[in-house]
Symmetry: C2
Subunit: 667 residues, 2 copies
């Protein structure tokens, strides 16, 4: 026991062992075996001072636990620990399967012939007192309360079974989440749906509809930008442990190239994902750079279960749709490596083999102030002809330098870049033949101020590959995948700065878990160094999916909001954000806005399992599979770049009297 | 040749034989066999005066046709008929498979070893001149034109193959249709989505975005109420012949019991469905009434292919989800029989066995004015005790009568119902023992004025069964299915009357095909007698799905709009209607509103195959399968009856400055 990184965040279950079974699977023939289970703990049923019964429940079913006082010190004794654990907390137990005596067998449950003699116990997430206990089926809470806490009601097997019945795929349950969601405080990219005033109730379910005689404020739904919060609530409910959906999403992205107002994402979320690298070997790396980056090409975060599911899906899709055999492992690199070696958080690795003569990996020189580095690319003499064009980039702020024979290159570089006395070579000099071209540009060492996901040097690398393709007609390999992991958890995005008033904001979204090792850095306020358990899947330089291990501890989530994002005590975002949104608009949010996020924090408090998920952009994926220039070519009835529909001719005007139904009029 | 029902509508392909193969399947080993194919006809390539080549294309592929001048009269000669058929018309051909000479084999197409020697030819739907020819791949039309006529562009195999690649189910292609659609002139039940003014282009794709400096009229999308028009356009495109989708639909139905603002329907549409009963035997009938209704329990309309698909799906779902074996055939009855015998267009057939003592079938007496009938139910003496309660229905306008021994019952009934001298028995009297209760009420003979889909007598029958269940505790059989067919194509719905100004409106929607036999009635203006090729699937008294064979002839469609629905020359509805909507609000629609339906009429003109489809209510279906009281219990995060979301607390207000982005403000 004991947490490796003692912290005021008091994080439970940060690196638990993954369960070996689900409850339902434990049968009489397993008697004598040791198994590890995870799920929700019932109230204690005392047998004596020295032993108690509990029930452990997961989405598959329920099993009886028997716990006896051990000889261990009181603190480590499972019975002591369990009796201090609130009902409906999420726990992991290790134990030996035992046959029950004939007299106490229970024919009503499928595990009724056995019980688990508990030998080890780990608290994964302690539950607050619940507003009602869903398993008290004989004493159901009133309907309004169950509606408000739907994610707790979904723990009731009768209800969860209905939802599961809808599923059409084994293991993962296909669940449809609402598309009519709530507006978020910052809603620049969401589509609004006005509600008719006669039907627009106020928020409290018990209140009466607003009278049409009294002009009421217009009420709006917002169309779902992603099922992020519904899916987290679903998995927090415990009723569904593995969720998937082909989710239609809506985003009002004016003028973005090759985007559609409505698009489809393959969305999934799983309970009980790990918080640290699993023992599963990573397999060989396909684009590996040896030396100092060797370790950065390992999956060093949690969520391996998500990775495995997605890699299997991608391999199967490539096999089915293209008859193509992908490597068993799609490769991994850290954000740091991607930015340093390729200058992009979605590196196009196809050009590694396409640019055999020029250097394809960006190098770095750390400046002596330790806060900045120079990124550089080395271009051999024989490639320099095509690089004349590149030199035009000087005008775009790129500084370049030609190494001149014997002259110490660091000194030359420093003089050329006007950084006199500020250069300190980080490695033992480069052996550069005379006339070699060195293109370089300086940047901040920590890439927490993001500039569209790439560095200046990364953009040059892309341009270089275009030029090489034009000149040499290089054939790229068709599909180069890589996972990018260990993104900075927080960033000061230049685009977001005016929104966030110079504060830290979440690089992806505020529910992404920090890396286990970086919890102390979070404690110490060194936010620029905290890395997240986020993973993007990149194909041919395009992000085709992204996800993360989520924060499942309400305390940790509150700390991130309060101390890092500084959004007041519990100032939070609406359910309808997506990670490309800037989330925080004002220092002080209103009471309504605080409330708008209340449900997720509550759900974390009532026994939320460790969980994580991912979303793949289905349109982009299909566009790559079908090798089309635009995603419009894989959509039956797409919108134009301007958001209009040339077939059905939307959007269009409506009569003023229709607007009146919503309490609206034209400006 | 020659149409059985000569008509100014000049309907092509009304009762064509279903194809025996798709083009792709015809191979060298079929040489000598006779096959029937259907698809789109290419331009003619003349070999000589006496012979020509054509190509025939369907969604599977393409095959070469060779047509020789026959000895027949010029009018019946296939070559003459084909050379008069416009390119891209939809045709059916009968012919013998022949091996091509070695020299003219084409290795580029899978049918390149064979050609079809045409022996019979039928024009299914003649094409107007197309705005562009999608198969001229080397000379593609400009992008704006292809975008506007997306349903023609989808005939291009390169594009159609992209869409098919998205599919995850064999045979039927899963296609996602837009949810952001156009508003309809009558939009009482649709949700609006305002478009930001900066991105709201005017309807013409080539125009510039409206300047934000000049206040422009607010622009709106509407959320899809059903994918009706997109799916018809998709199948008319010919790129997809069998479509399906789990479609999220949105309907703003204030206060309707157990409805959700967003719901899911299992939606499908097929090309080349038949227009008349197929040779496929109907199987036994499970709730059959012998005698005069024997023939009304047969599937006498087209669309058998849809019926078969749905019955297979339903049987498989019952097997998979419930382990229940359904009869191989779900039973059929006409609308007339359902209304006359059960008083409802969604009869609950479970009570046929549950009400063994009372009569469960309503009888009719035609009044001598021939315009009205009396519906009656016979209640034996031993059931009359529980019927005292029913007598309270008198107050609700139900007239009842007790037969008194020897008295001629018709006379007695007439006196009791105050219809003196107006009763004419239609059959040889009922043998009613003394004291038998007869409940009766009069109604119009033709049930074209619909009252929520049931007659007064039908409501009494339902109440009777509730009472019987209370009194006798009768156990209903669990699942009673029936198809209802042959609905009146047009009706004067009392609810709709104020909208339609007393005119005829479509019972379901204006694209439903009339029955083949009733085309002359349509010609003669006897609209009350015209039956539609519509089918509802009813389970336990609830409509769980409905669909129809569609009108595929632009001329017939125009006639229905112009002569029957009287909506001006081409006054039509928006793409976003659903069949429960009342469609026509004003006598004269505006130019914009006429345009809003233009695309479907055009699509019918450019070579639309005969087609039909259906939609099943997935939420309702799941609710029955899971045996829940409300559909809310099969939805993960449902809305309340008032349309609010108790978890995410939508809808809610938004800041005024957000409204300004859409050119809107509060009233």
């Amino acid at each position: 026991g004991g947490h490796r990184f003692a912290s005021s965040v008091a994080l439970d279950g940060q690196h638990f062992a993954y369960r070996t079974r689900v409850c339902q699977e434990v049968k009489a023939e397993d008697a004598g075996q040791t198994v590890r289970l995870a799920g929700w703990l019932s109230a204690e049923r005392k047998i004596s001072k020295k032993a108690s019964f509990y029930s452990l429940r997961d989405a598959s079913g329920i099993i009886q636990l028997i716990v006896r006082r051990s000889g261990e010190s009181d603190l480590e004794d499972p019975l002591t620990k369990m009796s201090r654990t609130p009902e409906e907390s999420v726990v992991s137990v290790l134990g030996r399967v035992k046959l029950r005596p004939q007299s106490s067998k229970n024919a009503n449950v499928s595990t009724g012939d056995v019980e688990l003699e508990v030998e080890g116990f780990e608290l994964l997430n302690a539950a607050d007192e619940l507003p009602f206990y869903p398993h008290d089926e004989h004493n159901l809470a009133n309907e309004d309360l169950r509606a408000k806490y739907r994610y707790l009601d979904l723990r009731r097997p009768a209800l969860a079974n209905n939802i599961k019945m809808r599923s059409r795929v084994a293991h993962f349950v296909e669940v449809e989440t609402p598309m009519l969601l709530q507006t978020s405080p910052e809603g620049a990219r969401e589509y609004l749906v006005p509600a008719r005033l006669s039907s627009a109730m106020t928020n409290a379910p018990s209140s009466t509809p607003s009278s049409s005689a009294i002009p009421a404020a217009p009420q709006f739904y917002a169309l779902s930008q992603s099922p992020q919060q519904p899916k987290q609530l679903l998995v927090c409910s415990g009723g569904i442990e593995k969720y998937f959906q082909f989710a239609r999403c809506f985003r009002d992205e004016d003028g973005r190239k090759d985007r559609q107002p409505e698009f489809t994402q393959v969305d999934l979320e799983m309970a009980f994902v790990s918080w640290s690298p699993s023992a599963i070997p990573n397999g060989e790396q396909h684009h590996s750079i040896p030396g100092e980056y060797a370790d950065e090409q390992r999956w060093r975060i949690g969520g391996t279960e998500i990775r495995n599911v997605i890699e299997n899906v991608i391999c199967e899709v490539w096999q089915t749709a293209l008859g193509a055999e992908l490597p068993p492992n799609l490769g991994v690199m850290t954000y740091r490596m991607a930015m340093e070696k390729y200058g992009s958080d979605k590196p196009d690795l196809r050009m590694n083999s396409a640019l055999p003569r020029s250097s394809t990996h960006i190098g770095q020189i750390t400046l002596s102030d330790s806060k900045r580095v120079i990124d550089y690319l080395v271009v051999p003499r024989e490639d320099q002809e095509m690089l004349k064009e590149l030199m035009a980039l000087r005008e775009a702020g790129v500084q370049s330098y030609v190494v001149d024979g014997k002259m110490a290159w660091e000194e030359g570089l420093a003089r050329e870049l006007d950084l006199s006395g500020n250069v300190q070579a980080t490695r033992s000099g480069l052996e550069l033949p005379e006339g070699t071209l060195l293109i370089g540009c300086a940047r901040d060492k920590y890439l927490t101020v993001r500039q569209g996901g790439s560095t200046s040097m990364g953009k040059i690398r892309l341009r270089l590959s275009e030029l090489a393709e034009q000149k040499y007609g290089l054939a790229y390999p068709k599909y180069c995948f890589t996972w990018i992991t260990e993104f900075p958890l927080f960033s000061k995005d230049e685009d977001k700065e005016f929104m966030a008033h110079g504060r830290w904001s979440s690089t992806h979204h505020p529910f992404t878990a920090p890396m286990l090792e970086d919890l102390p850095l979070l404690e110490q306020g060194r936010y620029e160094k905290v890395r997240g358990q986020h993973y993007d899947l990149v194909l041919n330089g395009m992000e085709i999916g992204g996800g993360s291990v989520r924060v499942h501890s309400a305390k940790l989530q509150e700390k991130i909001f309060r101390d890092v994002l500084q959004v007041g005590s519990v100032e939070l975002v609406g359910p309808n954000f997506c990670y490309t949104n800037s989330l925080f608009t004002t220092t002080q949010l209103t009471e309504t806005e605080i409330k708008s996020f209340d449900h997720l924090l509550k759900a974390l408090k009532y026994g939320a399992p460790p969980h994580g998920g991912i979303a793949l952009g289905f349109d982009r994926l299909m566009s790559i599979i079908c090798d089309t220039k635009s995603i419009r070519d894989v959509i039956a009835f797409p919108k134009t770049a301007g958001g209009t529909d040339p077939v059905f001719r939307s959007p269009s005007g409506i009569p003023d009297e229709t607007l009146r139904l919503y309490g609206l009029r034209s400006m």
